[in-house]
Subunit: 118 residues, 2 copies
DNA sequence: TGAACAAATGAATAACTGTTCATATATTGT
DNA sequence: ACAATATATGAACAGTTATTCATTTGTTCA
């Protein structure tokens, strides 16, 4: 990638670039952070999270509230579960899901705050 | 979708479902919110945003700092631009990008906060 | 034990997305 | 006007993803 040379010789912002490079996040940090945001980035999952922001819900009720198939909801819940964005507890035939922690709540809030101010 | 009936008769959480349904976000809100999170959900865009969190940068320097082609960076900048997550100003041959507003900053912060506490 | 039901899951598919490559546009200095 | 350079963009391709369908697992109750 010859861009590096180009930048060093012409942009004349080498120091700026190096400074930014030093504060750059680790590759693993970037990956896990983007994975979380990506989870928020699908309409179905976002709806699920927004429901769970209000109350714990079983899969059946979620699929009912979102008017989506049980299977589709279940598949997405697995994604959220794997990323530890939601937790679940079993009660008889039902499995109840809820948000995993406070941060999830706040990330959602910040996002909502943003779209309101656009 | 017969699930609706199933839920009403068996889950016995009709009230809960209806309550949640009422507070549900508008379809357009869900879409624009998920679009924003989706933008954060790609490693390349996340890196770009994280760079811009620290300083205004030109395309050339960004592609240099991320060690990616100018074209790839430019394409992603367009996505961020269209969503108004970044703003840009032209200065001669260079175009300088920066975060569009405070919320973007805080969404990033909240996300980082989350992965640190996992 | 068997019927009914909630939830999970694997496979298949259609739609989407990020990068590359080639090229176009716009600006600067000669 | 021309060469050099920064940026933008269209087309194409490979890789990913969300949903559907069919099936399985696990639980309750009769």
């Amino acid at each position: 990638m010859s861009k590096e040379l180009v930048c060093e010789e012409n942009c004349a912002h080498v120091d700026a670039v190096n400074e930014v490079k030093e504060t750059m996040l680790e590759s693993t940090e970037i990956l896990s952070l983007s994975a979380i945001f990506k989870a928020f980035g699908d309409p179905t999952r976002l709806k699920i999270l927004h429901c769970l922001q209000q109350r714990e819900m079983c899969v059946c009720c979620l699929s009912c509230a979102l008017d989506m198939s049980q299977s589709a909801v279940s598949h997405q819940l697995r994604v959220l579960r794997n990323l530890r964005l939601v937790k679940h507890r079993k009660e008889g035939k039902n499995v109840y899901y809820s948000l995993d922690d406070e941060h999830i709540f706040r990330i959602l809030e910040q996002g909502l705050e943003h779209i309101k101010h656009i």
